[in-house]
């Protein structure tokens, strides 16, 4: 069992099988595109973001985290009609941040995961907002209560998704 040591703390590093690495993000993007058409309230959630955070915190490798985030984000971008890179950049930052934080903190318990997800949801939205407004010139509205409530909802769902991911991750 490979163990990484950071600041004296023992942190376990996990990996995912290739089918899981491909199929889970793909399913997340697919469900994100399909479910809001049937259940409009589901548009509050960002499943690809939750999967990005879940993968990044489990792998605890910044390079793996940012590349996973970039690929998932670009896939998500490709389904929209906006320029490719909006979600790509946001999720790259989140993937890098989540995996870097995963090295320093214990993210195995539900409480930590809940707070972590709220934090990274807000980071994701801020980065997206800045790029959309600053670079692309989109009229994106910012509403703190809405963002915070969406962050809470995503964090709740995230706790369950991370539990599911725990079942498919493998110790290195």
């Amino acid at each position: 069992m490979a163990i990484t040591y950071t600041s004296g703390a023992q942190v376990e590093v996990y990996r995912f099988s290739i089918p899981a690495t491909v199929l889970i993000p793909l399913t997340a993007v697919f469900l994100q595109a399909w479910l809001p058409l049937r259940f409009h309230l589901f548009s509050f959630f960002d499943l690809p973001l939750l999967v990005t955070i879940g993968f990044a915190t489990a792998r605890r490798s910044p390079l793996a985290g940012l590349s996973t985030g970039a690929l998932i984000g670009i896939l998500q971008d490709a389904l929209t009609h906006h320029p490719i890179g909006l979600y790509g950049i946001s999720k790259t930052v989140v993937g890098f941040g989540a995996s870097s934080l995963g090295i320093k903190l214990d993210v195995e318990n539900a409480g930590a995961r809940f707070l972590l997800t709220i934090f990274f949801y807000v980071v994701h939205e801020v980065v997206y907002f800045m790029i959309a407004r600053g670079l692309v010139g989109l009229r994106v509205a910012w509403n703190w209560p809405h963002e915070f409530l969406s962050g809470m909802a995503n964090a709740l769902l995230g706790v369950f998704i991370f539990l599911l991911l725990d079942h498919v991750k493998q110790r290195t």
Binding site: A33, P62, L75, A78, H81, H82, T92, S100, R139, A141
Partner: protein, 363 residues
């Protein structure tokens, strides 16, 4: 080298972000040249839409089996009610066909070109973009089915959007909804006949722009397509005005509720062919040679009031005043259209004297 190794992660992060920002800047600078990203978009659609198609097929099949074979409660009552509705609509159809005939005659007079939806294709909505900032949906018909960019997409309730991209493989198309902030539709208000541009907002609402603030727009008024955008034919239902407020600058802030439920789209129609044709003279039902002749022959003028002023004055007056010509109004209108000349006042203002014999005369 040691420094590079130490900051390797950060350097890679900056590199990846820089590459994406650069790519983004190129796309923003040249929005029309989307070839480099088109491949990525096709791959993404190819990865996601097959799963969506399967899921939608399963969903539709299950629903059809349930509704067609099991859930038949109240079918007789519904059948009875529909029959009554057909009877009512048949009566209404007679009245509307008379109105349509009259409209065609007037259009022929004005050499008015109408746009007709001559061909549509039914398509199923299979997925969306998954982003609140990008209000697009994917349909299960693509390039191979004849779908092309800029085709209008509608439902029976109202307009939905326009085709942005159509792909060969997978056979699917991306449709931009009217409530997206990058969408724009030329519209006209039904009663006040004010024209404006319908746009989506960041929150997914629909607003009517470019209506001057000194105009009066009542809430509840219907909004129709004006045909000015070159995408949607004129006269399609868009929605209804819900709220009118004073906006910024010189324009009103008008909120519109779309007639089609854009959050629950299942089946749509892609308008694959629009005909632009002029109302034909024979459609007026009165373009008879005898009518044309009657229009050109001098009638029996009513005695002009200022006859004492001389012949020239009398003839000028006879053009301005109604003349008694034995010709029904429809015949006069048909004559004007067939002659391809502007209708003289004598033809436009006549006393209606029905003459069935002239109507039935051969050409």
């Amino acid at each position: 080298m040691d420094v590079l190794g130490r900051y390797r992660n950060l350097i890679v992060l900056v590199g990846v972000l820089f590459a994406q920002v650069l790519g983004l800047a190129v796309q923003v600078k040249r929005p029309s040249d989307n070839e480099p990203t088109r491949l990525i978009r096709i791959w993404a659609a190819g990865a996601v839409t097959p799963m969506e198609k399967v899921l939608v097929w399963v969903e539709t099949s299950t629903r059809n089996v349930w509704h067609n074979y099991f859930y038949l409660r109240g079918l007789r009552a519904e059948n009875r009610s529909l029959k009554q509705q057909i009877e009512r609509m048949s009566l209404e159809q007679v009245r509307m066909s008379q109105d349509a005939d009259q409209a065609r005659r007037l259009q022929a007079l004005l050499a008015f070109k109408e746009q007709f939806i001559s061909q549509t294709m039914a398509a199923q909505v299979i997925g969306g973009s998954g982003s609140e900032q990008s209000r697009v949906v994917f349909i299960d018909k693509g390039y191979n089915d004849g779908v092309r960019p800029d085709m209008a997409v509608i439902t029976a309730d109202g307009i939905v959007g326009k085709v942005l991209e159509s792909y060969r493989s997978p056979s699917t198309s991306k449709v931009l909804l009217i409530n997206d902030q990058t969408s724009g539709v030329g519209v006209i208000l039904d009663k006040t006949r004010l024209q404006g541009i319908l746009r989506g907002t960041a929150s997914g609402e629909v607003v009517l722009e470019k209506v001057m603030s000194d105009e009066s727009v009542p809430a509840g008024e219907l909004v129709l397509t004006s045909g000015g955008d070159g995408i949607f034919p004129k006269g399609l239902l868009v929605g209804r005005v819900t709220k009118v407020g004073s906006g910024s600058d010189l324009f009103l802030n008008i909120r519109v509720r779309p007639a089609a439920d854009l959050n629950r789209l299942e089946e749509v129609l892609v308008v694959t062919k629009i005909d632009q044709r002029q109302a034909l003279p024979e459609q007026t039902g009165a373009a008879r040679a005898v009518d044309i002749l009657a229009g050109r022959l001098p009638g029996v003028p009513s005695k002009p009031e200022n006859a004492e002023k001389g012949d020239g004055a009398a003839s000028a007056s006879s053009e301005a005043k109604p003349k008694t010509v034995s010709q029904p109004p429809s015949a006069a209108m048909g004559a004007a259209a067939a002659a391809k000349t502007p209708p003289k006042p004598v033809k436009a203002v006549v006393e209606p004297t029905p003459q069935p014999a002239a109507e039935d005369s051969p050409h």
